[in-house]
């Protein structure tokens, strides 16, 4: 009771003096252990088939390759789109501004799953309508991997446009003026002064979006037969009548993936922050 009260009142880690018994860290470790015991209990109670899991883990786990291809591909498309989108939003040109606003509004306003289906299922239909020139066919009829990358890139590019825009806008006008006063061109100013500083603001949420995309790439596996994690879990789970086990494998692998990339994201974040925090220079 005393502990509960202290935690509520103390916001975060309670002070040492208050804990007569175990340290905060110990109590946390024990809590995690308790959660693990409960979960294992549940698995045993429901006769979780670990042998089956071991057997299928390698096959389902290899789906990671496609998950990563989709996610890296999607990100490779989303980043330039977001940069163009942001520069369009910030441009004084009415045309560029409208295009960018339309793009953001449409792709944020419709579900990613619908976009994947559009590109993979609906576009091919257009290719064979009368009067549509043949050279459009390879553009409209896409392999599921390309369709998936396109949909993920377009969708996340729209979300990230806003991230990039606010990152660029967070750089004070004094920086731009200083660069102009040094005779730097607008392009040089953007590339050498504004964007490097904006990156510091842009990278953390972009990392979050990449991690979200890892998980959203499963939607591509719903639409078509790309054998990424979820698709493999789903198809083998159905065929072997063990969906709980196969989905658990997929969930664990997604979880591990996000853990790994969160770790890298934190490292990257610290790297780009140099020059902005005194501690960084001191090396504390």
């Amino acid at each position: 009771m005393a502990e509960a009260r202290a935690t509520l009142g103390g916001l975060g880690k309670p002070k040492e003096a208050r804990a007569p018994g175990l340290s905060y860290q110990w109590r946390k470790t024990i809590s995690y252990a308790a959660i693990a015991v409960v979960l294992i209990g549940v698995f045993i109670f429901f006769q979780f088939d670990t042998d089956f899991m071991m057997l299928w883990f390698p096959y389902i786990g290899r789906g990671v390759v496609y998950t990563l291809i989709l996610s890296f591909g999607g990100m490779a498309l989303a980043i330039p789109l977001a940069l163009l989108g942001a520069l369009g939003r910030l441009s004084r040109s009415a045309v560029l501004n409208s295009i960018s606003a339309f793009y953001v509004s449409f792709f944020r306003g419709t579900p990613l799953l619908v976009q994947v289906f559009f590109i993979y299922y609906a576009f091919p239909q257009l290719a064979f309508r009368p009067g549509v020139p043949g050279f459009l066919e390879p553009v409209l009829v896409l392999d599921i991997i390309f369709a998936g990358i396109l949909a993920l890139g377009l969708n996340y590019g729209a979300y990230m446009t806003e991230i990039f825009r606010s990152g660029i806008q967070s750089i004070g006008h004094g920086q731009v003026e200083a660069a102009h006063a040094l005779a730097m061109s607008p392009r040089q100013t953007t590339r050498r002064i504004v964007l490097p500083q904006a990156l510091r603001v842009i990278i953390p949420p972009t990392g979050n979006d990449f991690i979200a995309m890892l998980k959203d790439s499963s939607l591509v596996g719903v639409a078509g037969s790309v054998t990424e994690l979820f698709n493999r879990a789903q198809t083998t789970g159905r065929a072997e009548v063990h969906p709980f086990e196969t989905l658990a494998i997929a969930a664990l692998v997604y979880w591990a993936l996000t853990g790994v990339f969160t770790f890298f994201q934190n490292k990257l974040e610290r790297r780009v922050a140099r020059g902005h925090f005194r501690e960084q220079v001191h090396g504390h």
């Binding site: 004094g174 200083a178 660069a179 102009h180 006063a181 040094l182 040089q188």
Partner: protein, 250 residues
């Protein structure tokens, strides 16, 4: 006497309905130090910012070291001229505006390398001399956040000088500084004036003006109301408004 290095002819600047500069004309000779003072909103900073086209004049003409530019829409030729003028006119801002993501030395060599196309080595060599001149040699590899306000402003001066400008524009260079840090910046500016740099300084540091300036201009409501040598201006201003302003700041 040598020909004027800065010529301002009938300069006008409107911000919408508001006219900030009203037909301002001013010539500056090489090596001359001109201190501009006046109330905030009188147009003195705008004049400086029009000189290197951080603000676009809405009337009149500017000439810096032979590069002449009439007001008007930014065409290609005009943009080239603006670039020429900006290379000839170094500017120091009230808020320093150092690039926080670059070290002190990187701040100094950024523009010489990207704009002038100098080698890093060449720009760094000169940068070292300039840091030495402003007394900050040991800070070359620091990021700006580690510097005091006075140190930042001295770096900003060195950064502008590393473009080898013909003239230097100072826009209230000490207004954002704690009082005890003003002296170190003014000392650097004084040294620069003694070396023969042409300078236009917007400032209310009357001690500096008296000691260093060749001429003072009192700005009032978008016009140069009065100008003259510092001693005469400070002791014996002609206009009532100048006198009142001087009484307030002295």
């Amino acid at each position: 006497m040598a020909t004027d290095i800065i010529k301002v002819e009938n300069l006008e600047k409107h911000f919408g309905e508001l006219q900030v500069l009203k037909d301002v004309s001013l010539n500056v000779k090489p090596k001359e130090v001109v201190v501009i003072f006046g109330r905030s909103g009188s147009g003195k900073s705008t004049l400086l910012r029009c000189l290197n086209f951080l603000e676009y004049p809405t009337g009149g003409c500017i000439e810096v070291d032979g590069t002449r530019l009439e007001y008007g829409h930014p065409t290609r030729a005009r943009r080239d001229a603006i670039r020429q003028i900006r290379m000839k006119a170094g500017m120091v801002f009230q808020e320093f505006n150092l690039f926080p993501h670059l070290t002190v030395m990187e701040n100094l060599i950024e523009a010489p390398v990207t704009v002038r196309g100098e080698s890093k080595k060449e720009a760094t060599e000169r940068g070292k001399e300039l840091l030495d001149k402003v007394g900050l040699s040991e800070k070359a590899d620091q990021y700006p956040i580690r510097l005091s306000g006075g140190q930042k402003q001295r770096v900003a001066i060195a950064r502008a000088l590393n473009m080898r400008p013909k003239i230097m524009l100072f826009d209230e260079p000490t207004s954002a500084l704690d009082p005890e840090l003003i002296g170190e910046v003014l000392a650097v500016m004084k040294k620069l004036a003694e070396e023969g740099m042409t300078m236009m300084v917007v400032s209310h540091e009357m001690g500096f003006a008296r000691e260093v300036a060749d001429r003072m201009c009192f700005f009032d409501d978008g016009v140069i109301l009065e100008e003259g040598p510092p001693d005469q201006m400070i002791r014996d201003a002609q206009h009532e408004r100048t006198k009142r302003f001087l009484e307030a700041v002295l």
